[in-house]
């Protein structure tokens, strides 16, 4: 469905030297599968998603969507071919409200569906549809609205950049459940989640570990998860049992 072939992205360092932030990345994303991209901060995860969306231009390599080379297409053209990206930090818009944005994401959406999508991400439509996307919304609210947009778009490739970041624990479980339910075994679509979340990684079909712009590991979750589990799960968890203690 989506094929990345020998993608390289080179940037200029401050001292004039050049560095690959994505180095020779090739991935074949299949329909009906849920992919997790993980790895340390600065490893190139968001950069890779932005190259797929067309926001960044790769220095070399190709991107194919259903056999068509889309490497030279603009963000708009890729969006119209069904690529969707939920930003890690969605921008704010003074004067546009939540329902405006969702209607742009999915023109012609009816009122009932719009409301259902809001409920899906844990936001009461009555409270939120008319809300301005300005500074009045919290980071977690912006994030949920962002996810609602991508879910609404029904894209062929849907990318979620750290959907759990800034969202409360109760909602995270619900969001992840939604994404899994919607994309796993759906032959018309592929979902890519950039995540560090220990509850998300093991339930994806495949895990890709990206480190310093290079694919370190890639394979079915049941194979990869045991290898990276210790790096991701909190090492103190057994001691504190995730409980918050207050000293009296």
């Amino acid at each position: 469905m989506l094929k990345l072939k020998n993608l390289v992205m080179t940037v200029d360092n401050a001292n004039g030297s050049r560095r690959d932030i994505i180095h020779d990345v090739s991935i074949d994303f299949e329909p009906g599968k849920l992919y997790a991209i993980t790895g340390p901060n600065g490893g190139g995860k968001t950069t890779l998603a932005k190259i797929i969306m067309g926001i960044y231009q790769q220095s070399s390599g190709q991107i194919y969507l259903d056999e068509e080379d889309i490497s030279g297409l603009s963000v708009t053209e890729r969006a119209r071919r069904g690529i969707a990206y939920a930003f890690q930090q969605p921008p704010r818009f003074k004067g546009l409200n939540v329902s405006d944005l969702i209607k742009i994401a999915r023109p012609g959406i009816d009122g009932l569906e719009l409301r259902l999508k809001m409920r899906d991400v844990g936001l009461c439509p009555e409270d939120y549809l008319e809300r301005d996307l300005g500074p009045g919304l919290s980071g977690g609210e912006m994030k949920r609205i962002e996810i609602a947009q991508v879910l609404t778009r029904e894209g062929v490739i849907s990318m979620f950049d750290e959907p759990e970041a800034g969202v409360d624990l109760w909602t995270v479980q619900r969001l992840i459940g939604l994404i899994v339910q919607k994309y796993q075994n759906n032959p018309r679509s592929t979902a890519i989640i950039i995540t560090h979340h220990e509850n998300v990684l093991p339930i994806c079909d495949e895990i890709i570990v990206l480190e310093e712009g290079v694919i370190k590991l890639q394979g079915p979750a049941q194979e990869i998860w045991p290898l990276i589990k210790d790096d991701i799960q909190c090492k103190m968890k057994d001691q504190c049992r995730s409980e918050v203690c207050y000293e009296l």
């Binding site: 926001i55 969006a79 944005l101």
Partner: protein
Amino acid sequence: MNFKAIDMQLLNTISDIKAIPSGAINIRKDGKPVVRQSSANIFVGPNSANNGLLVEIKPGTRNETVHVPVIVTQAGFHDKVYNTFIVGEGADITIIAGCGIHNDSHNDSSHDGIHEIIVKKGARLKYVEKHYGEGSGGGKRILNPTTNVILETGAMAEMEMVQIKGVDDTIRTTIAHIGDKANLKIIERLMTHGIQKAESDIRLNIEGRGASGQVISRSVGRDDSSQIFKAAMAGRNECVGHVECDAIIMDRAKIQSIPELIAEDADAVLTHEAAIGKIAGEQLIKLMSLGLTEKEAIDTILEGFLR
């Protein structure tokens, strides 16, 4: 009175009317009233100096709208009018003003509307004023409105002043006096193109105890246009006041924003925020990633910002 298509289009643009509404109305065209009608509760007639309009709303009048649009279609015409609006005690009404100029000539056309608005004790007013210019000639379309507002005890007013497009030169002056427990909100929206110049000077005098004032200005400067926005807010009692001016700057436009706070009472709480910036790249990319072109994305952002 039969209106030409051009007149109706102007009227529709500035006051959203497709036909002459029933109820209180005054339509002024090229310096003369062409439609004038009072309603049972709202008197619309000439003022005592006979150089403008007197609109008097009876105390307790509710849910009525007064339309007082002005159109200038005669090239090179300079119109000046003095209008007084008195909103009676406890009334709750809407005034829709606005001015549209059509000028195809090489002579300047202008309209200077001087409005005095008195909102009596406990009354509520919504005031909407839209300004618009069109036409193909090199003559300028000039609008210089002056608005004086007085809010008596417990009165409330929301004033929305919009300059849609096509006005070449404007100097807008708004002076308000806010009494005890009264509340005034001024919303200004402005877009300038080409080599247009716009200046807005708002002075809010919050004089009453427990009174509040708010100015929200949103503007977009495009091409080679220039804008100056001044908002002076004086708190002379235990009161609350806030000024917020946000501007999007594009192309080679110039925007100056001068908020001023004057506190003359230790219990006056006055704040201001001002920001000028271009459309953020992230905003464009976000909308393009939903399938809009760059131009559609810019239009969507500006339309929302000025809504």
